[in-house]
Assembly symmetry: C2
Homo-oligomer: 395 residues x 2
């Protein structure tokens, strides 16, 4: 299961909540397995999951009838699925349906609740929670629907609760770790495929296309594709264009797709031909910083201490003026899960966190250098997902 | 330019607004050219555009410093870019920066406004709008930021205004039409590439991978990839898996990526080997319905009338029990722009609308059939973007 129910329940308990409502695509998928497609690829479409604190097995999915096939998918572990809105699906007369079709028919046979918020209010009442304290993931619900919910549930106390989902999602389940490992490895293999075709005169776009196609071949889907060469690589979010690779210039990849909805985010650099002395020294320094951070991470270690050690290492090893606002972050259904490895973060690492550790250096006029690995925090250290090391690749 | 400023101003005038604030990824890109990457690929990151009704040339972009390179891109036509948050970018000492780097340095030299909503409030005050009536695109702003804005601007009247952006976006500019045409054609070519490898024993996933890779080769990025064969095709949002193609069964593609941020959404069907009589008759019927709708569309024609004619045609031509909730929709930066071609829609088509016309038929136990074309409404009819016709492809 994707959901870390113990942690979600702990979050509810800390906040004194009787129930939670997921409203963003990542939280809906996280708490039910329901991949509400139109909610993922657009802004506005509504899908919810109601999770009662005491009986999470009595969770409810609220789905648009037009997505009922996805709610009928075997990946969805919440059994109570409610639907809203008109959508026509026929069935061959006199044919006994089976499997997913049978489940779909079951769901279609349920009453149309009218709209998303009416359906949610009905589920809340059915669970006896009409006077409860309910935390709503405030980021995904339309403001007019929040207002409507307040009106439909005059005795309930509704509070904003996106932080509780973020808290729960920080510690991954075994299934999540498995998907994240695969996702990171797809990104790693895809960078290698792109580097394989890098030569003087090839364009950033040539490399990006090979990268994305390899991601697809390996079962992923493209999301993040920052690819830049030479001085363009210093742009944090550089999008590939027809700029040609020049010998000796640094190519920067900061990339990652999705695999079964889980994100990747890793970074590597290469040079066609020989790297100059500055590039060799600077790149060794950022790698040293990243590996120093990785070496330190284990349960109980303060996040801010890892930040400090990474920055100090980069400075000592070759970039004396190195500064950063963070040197990594969690990753999961969202590209930035907790924790943020920042100097102000007094939290500690915990077993089961999946972390991207990165020490990028952007210098306008020169290049972008970036090492970024992904790993899971284990009982006594880390288990890296990477297939390649972060050293500068000379092609 | 992407923005239809006349229409946006008309929308503001109708609503008595002095200014608008874009907050969702599509509206930020639409009103400024700024592709705020992290806002597109995640939920929560904030980017805004303030558009004063009387002086839209005095619009302001509010960008996280971590995305300042994207705000410095030559595609961004709004000149006043404000930034918030700490993010380190170095520059090679004693080197004169040029082009985008110079612009980036200019933007980095501006003051850090602290956070998104402080930056927005400051821009509003700088434009003398602190007591104005301001429409906020309510879908993209975090609720806590809406509250903070109310507090920072006690004399302003803030109202929800996502509908005005939707209203403006319905009539496309020449640049938008050009991108949407290319996006639709990439999808069309990508379906053709997938059909080229379809044979008995190939899997849905084989076809989907070829489809997405072709999209990438042609300069697009994958978004929508519903690919199903046989009875699985009856699932509206069917996601490709290892199901093998069987001779005589219908393959359904309902797909489309993005090209320069603009969406595609088209549908085609194929059969390996011979199609049975039902498939031939039903598919002809859905094509007849779609083409009847396309034939009718021109400025001034009532949307609901086109819906009625399409459904009636499908019924008459072979699927007597055919029902639908809509037979198409606008498309643009969002996959579903106005208008929705539904029986309740009393609006009329207008020149410059880009429309997906579709007549899907989903029958559990049998298959999914779907014809979907994209076109632009011209002065006296339509101009189709399609390279292929919607007839059932026999492979």
């Amino acid at each position: 299961m994707l959901l870390n129910i113990d942690r979600l329940q702990a979050g509810m308990k800390n906040a004194g909540l009787d129930a939670l409502v997921a409203t963003t695509p990542e939280n809906v998928t996280y708490t039910s397995g329901f991949w509400a497609m139109s909610q993922w690829i657009r802004r506005g479409p509504q899908a919810y999951v109601l999770i009662p604190a005491k009986n999470p097995d009595d969770s409810s999915v609220i789905a648009n009838t037009g997505m009922i096939d996805l709610a009928a998918d075997s990946d969805v572990w919440v059994r109570d699925v409610r639907r809203f809105g008109k959508f026509i699906v026929d069935a061959t007369p006199d044919l006994k349906l089976s499997g997913q079709d049978q489940r779909m028919q079951e769901l279609l046979d349920r009453e149309d609740d009218g709209d998303a918020v009416k359906s949610l209010a009905r589920a809340i009442k059915d669970r006896g929670l009409q006077s409860a304290k309910i935390g709503i993931d405030e980021i995904g619900i339309l403001p007019e629907y929040w207002d409507a919910l307040v009106e439909l549930l005059p005795d309930a106390k509704l509070t904003r609760a996106s932080g509780i989902f973020r808290y729960a999602r920080a510690i991954k389940t075994a299934e999540e770790i498995s998907r994240l490992r695969k996702s990171a490895q797809i990104a790693d293999l895809s960078i290698a495929a792109a580097f394989d075709i890098a030569r003087e005169g090839a364009t950033e776009m040539d490399l990006a296309k090979v990268f994305h196609c390899k991601t697809i071949e390996e079962g992923g889907l493209p999301v993040l594709g920052c690819v830049g060469t030479g001085p363009r690589g210093a742009m944090t979010n550089v999008q590939p264009n027809e700029t040609k690779i020049v010998k000796g210039e640094v190519i920067r990849f900061d990339v990652g797709g999705r695999y079964r909805h889980y994100r990747a985010d890793i970074a590597r650099n290469a040079v066609v031909g020989d790297a100059d002395a500055k590039t060799v020294r600077y790149h060794k320094a950022i790698c040293a910083g990243m590996y120093r951070a990785i070496e330190m991470i284990k349960p109980g270690v303060r996040v801010a201490d890892v930040f400090d050690a990474a920055v100090e290492t980069v400075r000592r090893e070759g970039i004396a003026h190195y500064q950063r606002n963070h040197i990594g972050h969690g990753i999961g259904l969202d590209g930035y899960d907790a924790p943020n490895i920042a100097p102000s973060n007094n939290e500690s690492f915990e077993e089961g966190m999946v972390i991207c550790v990165e020490t990028p250096y952007y210098e306008m006029g020169y290049a972008g250098l970036q090492a970024e690995d992904t790993l899971v925090v284990t009982r006594d250290g880390v288990d890296s997902f990477m297939l390649s090391n972060a050293a500068l690749r000379l092609l």
